[in-house]
Amino acid sequence: MLNWLLGSIVRSIFESGIFLMVSIGLTLTLAVVKLPNFAHAEFITIGAYTTLIVTQFLPNNLPFALIASFLISGLIAIVVHQLAYKPLIKRRSSLYILVLASFAVAQFLRYTVFILASIGGMLSAHPLINVVPVLYIAGQALTNIYLLTLLLAILSAVFLSLFFKFTLTGKSMRAISSNQVLAQLSGINTERAINVMWILAGGLAGVGGSMLSPYVTVTPALGFNLLLEIFAVVIFGGLTSFIGTILGSLIMGFAENSLMDFLNIYFSVPYTYTPLIPFSLIIIVLLIKPTGFGLSYSVSRALKQRLIRTQSR
């Protein structure tokens, strides 16, 4: 009776991995520069297209494709920041101006990709990467891409938490996130930290797009279709919390797969209504618990300190 459940869980975990890769950059952006970047999804598209182009010349060369996607998406992210966002942030623009600017950047990037893709005849193409099943769990195949995605997601999570905890740049980012003015006054090189943040944000999204591309076919609207779901993940996680994003990705992955499977099997809800799940969840979360389910770093540290203080008494 529940034989669908195991396969469903496997797929949910895969999707959570993808969502983690593509959403962590947005959380970073929100935490460090307080910018809801609607152009974030375009970094995914750019990563996917980079993989497409790279595998045309080097088929099945995953490491090269991943590195290239990371670098190119990260580069575009920095350029976008320098050209569009920095001037606006400098003059202390309101939140909506920034949001609209990110919409405009998203449209600009998307249609540039459109033009380039239509010239190159790549409006919908498939990267030359073989998807090979490695082992089977309950009839659901775990492919090489699947395992690699999980590996990369876990590695990124570990890397980022170590990065924030131990490196100077990471700590600078946390400082900027909690109070930018104070950080600058303390002598932290905020410029450099923000630039590194953008490379990470764009690069990770690009790698996410790269991991998605062997399964789907790459079109210029690839990232745009995922935009609201990424925002849902970040909202669940409380917008700026790293752990929250992990939680949010898991919620999203499971909601779109296991929950939808459940609704489909027992209530005959057709799969075409799947997007309603993240959307309804967004509304519910925003109305009931707008701070989301995660804790920001500073809050969790404050809690831990409080705990230590009570214990040492």
Partner: protein, 363 residues
Amino acid sequence: MVDIVGFCLSFVSFFGIYAILTLSLNLEYGFGGQPNFGQALFYGMGAFVTAILTSNLLLILTHQHLENICTISSLVERETIATSNPSATLLAWAISGITSIIVGAILGFIASYPALRVKEEWYLAMVLLVAAQIFVIVFRYNTRLGCGFDGIAGISNPFSWLVSLTPINSPVIPNLVYSAIILLFTYLCFVLTERLTNSPFGRLLKSVRDDWLASSTLGKNVNKIRTQVMIIGSSMASLAGWLYVYYIGVANTEDYTSTFTFSIWVMMILGGFANNRGAVVGAFFITALDRFTLIGSTLLQAYFPGFNPNIISYSKYLLESLLLLLLLVFRPKGIMKEGVILTPAYRLFSLRMGEKKNERNYS
């Protein structure tokens, strides 16, 4: 060789509807501070309510049995009634208009609830954005609500019956009349928003927008004001939907996506926040950009064979986003700046004092 009359008519029709939408958004955000990123929801709901109601009303008013409005036979029936039966058509048009305004108001009331509930304003923006997406999905896939993918068609121009009455038998007459009506409603909406904002209520809106805490301390009912502005803005957007669906003839979810909401925001930003004239100018400019590039592209291709149009169609989007970015960086207040609130008392005052009648500009 260019059909100037036709071009002006189609330009004016689209411009009028977009101007109404921009005015409504400007009211909600420019004056009221409520970021409505889901304006397409109210626009689309007005359109669908109109389509469903008209399809049923036309049958009722001509004493026929109600049938499934999604079938071809009912579509043909609707169109036949529109060309032959003036009283039924106009009555259905009027009733659906009033209903869509009421539905818009109710939706605006419901939508203001999140505004009161959420702590930060951009949550409202997110909620409305998502609600608009939900609307699109539900009406696209549910055949009981909106006839599914193809939408509801056969909503003819409410003056189609004029064609057979005039000796010329030309389709221009109903177009002319309807475009004039769209312009009339645009003017009415403009007058309404001008009156609304150049008044103590307008002052109230701006104070709530700029510093709701201070307003609240001074005893103003912030929640009630926010609700009121959402209700008015949403009814205006639904009115635009009613006008639009009779113009194009079909209510289809593809016209009411978040991309369209973004276009309205561009129009508003371009024209200027909190400036009704600016809103109209912004709508004019973007409509002009769209229509002129389109007709320019077709003309160039028609008279210079071999001209590649792809550049124009893609670069229109690039141009629009680039324009918006440049505006946001260099001139975030738009073309026309926010002015002083010109209540009748203030006008009298400035007349008496002999001051210049020009607006003082906030920079």
